[in-house]
Amino acid sequence: MEINRRDFLQIAVALGIFGATGTNLFAGEAGKERIKNMSFSDIVSFEPKGKVTLLHICDMHAHLKPLYWREPSTLISADTLVGTPGFICGESFENYYGIEAGSLDQYFDTHGNFEMLATKFGKMGGVAHMKTVIEHIRKERGANNVLLLDSGDTWQGTAVALKTGGEAIVDAQNYLGVDVMVGHWEFTYGKERVMELIKMFKGEFISQNVIDNDPFSDTFEETIFPPYTIKEVGGAKIGIIGQSFPFTSTANPKKYTEGWSFALRHESLQEYVDMLRGEKKVDAVVVLSHDGFSVDQELAKKVNGIDFILSGHTHDPSPKPIIVNNTVILIAGSHGKYVGRLDLDIKDKKVAGYSFKLIPIASNLIPADKAGEELVEKWYKPYNEELNEVLGTTKGLLYKRDTFYSTFDALIGEAIMDAMKSDIVFTPGYRWGTTLLGGDQILKDNVYEMTAITYPEVYTFDLKGEAIAKLMEDIADNVFNPNPLLQQGGDMSRLTGASYTIKIAAPSGKRISDFIISGKPLDPKKTYRVSSWGGNLQNAGENLAKETPAVYEVVSDYIRKKKVIDIQMTSNVKILDYDCGCPKAGAKC
């Protein structure tokens, strides 16, 4: 395994970037020199291996344009999981992978020095920049020796995706040359639209774990999509099996996938692995997955004979592979921040060696492909007037990722509370969104980046205190269950108008204490007015308000009204088990 990115960063270190937190390492002439020294060729440098290259992207969330994306400053889980890949952030991430402060890696992989590094390194991702890297590799390796695999969560997440019913993003995938994909948020366009988009998509949509659930259908219990595909590339036969998100029907509204059943289905996965190896005589078995990084580490224990799992869903950047039961597991961050490159050396009908690197898509250092810029322009043009509206400005950092509290979500909650006059607001703990720097203008496009879903209704309803407490425990168990197979890979729902204390290690149903609503302890018998969006909570409520405005309009109206947004960085959740947001292995801070 080669990690050449480290090498070039060591050069940066040698040049004198020693990271005292908070100091501007790139100030003055010397700082400019350092940035100048990092070039496109450093970013794509790679020691090739064998003849086959698999390129991997995941969780782009429809970001055609570059963006800022800050990784979490709190990523808490069960004490047996924290400090392991999938549950490390900030300093624990830097220690685990040997990342230097002030480096491009720190900027891409952690929240450390984020605002300072953002002004120096600029935005991340964007299809025009991704394309330059992908084409560079296709040219180097020969186009017929390269596959581009997409782990899903690609069609949803921005205004252009929502307004074109996903078409703009499929167009971008075709432009990038995506060969194979699986899905999750893709399904929230509904079954019919999914099938239309798959027709437009020039690659293959595969999944072994989505099956027909209608007992009266002729295809009862058969897979909805082709379960696998076999690609002949670089003289080798690569079998690729698809895993879409196993919990789509509980995490997202059931109505979009009525009649389809989602689950992990590791038993049938094993059958496909065996069949590809035996009957189909492939040289390597790859699982293209949207299970989540930690779930795939468990899956690899249950299923034998998988060479590589290209994972997705949990948005983890993983600079080094994880190896479980001889299966190599890789994941490539989110929001188009990285393209993963995996070179395979196939000898005697099996994988003899590989090398891997996560290539950071640093838009200031990677030239944009012209056709890509035109594609983005074409899809944005009809909506530019609406999306470029300046709603207001933010004083501080607006970000999304964190286990409990994030400033952009706090803004959304504030806006909903103001509009709906509710006591408490639930905002979903999705892991997609955007980041704005202090002083930035807030565009309507940015609000969509946080809220662009096909079910944007803000529901307002009555819930008893005891029901609220039970719901929060239920959500906490989905996030903190020590068994990754029982987690759903998101973060805690965010609360506005409330605060609480949590003990992660407490048994299911007993984690939360000191629950305060509107400044007073939660009264189990009292009826509270609750607003929520993006989930199923309204189903548990009574006296549902007729008015269900779209969340992006509620938030936009609020910012227009306030003009200047000033959200505090302090969390409303107190964690009893940990003294820091990014614990190391052994749950140490």
Binding site: W185, P215, P246
Partner: protein
């Protein structure tokens, strides 16, 4: 997977009965002896005792119980039981019982088999009120009881 579908089509009538209400398949005499007053008053232990008459039960990996880790919909949770056991005149699987430990009515399905069944296999959907263990309890024609259990999480869901 096609074989399984055809097989299920053959089993269609049995499956439909099980969904409509399991008591139709109960052994009436056994039921009468141990039945509590109300239809929903079974405790798990009482239900087990009613089936086994207090005989010992061995946990066995011969039973393949397939349930989802997390239920997509608590109202219709698919359950499949396959017992790796001969189905011969002298030695066969006589009954497959499916129980949900924490439901008000813990006995979800009782299926009687004969060697003519060909295979000790049963699939149905059950209702689960909350996160709990689903149990497959199997009786052999020689009067032995074996079982296996798996936890199914029932959640309102939430995160994407």
């Amino acid at each position: 997977m096609i074989q399984r579908r055809n097989f299920l089509k053959g089993l269609g009538i049995v499956v439909a009965t099980a969904i409509a209400g399991t008591p139709a398949l109960l052994n009436a005499a056994e039921e009468k002896a141990k039945a509590p007053k109300g239809p929903n008053e079974f405790s798990y232990d009482m239900a087990i005792a009613a089936i086994t008459s207090g005989k010992a039960i061995e946990t066995s990996d011969k039973i393949d119980l397939v349930v989802p880790e997390i239920a997509e919909n608590g109202a219709v949770v698919p359950v499949k039981v396959t017992v790796n056991h001969p189905m011969e005149e002298s030695n066969y699987i006589k009954a497959i019982h499916i129980l949900a430990k924490e439901n008000n009515n813990v006995r979800c399905a009782d299926v009687m088999l004969t060697p003519m069944s060909g295979k000790a296999y049963f699939a149905t959907r059950i209702k689960l009120g909350k996160t709990q263990d689903v149990v497959a309890l199997v009786e052999t024609s020689t009067g032995n009881f074996i079982m296996t259990a798996k936890s199914v999480k029932v959640t309102i869901g939430g995160c994407g």
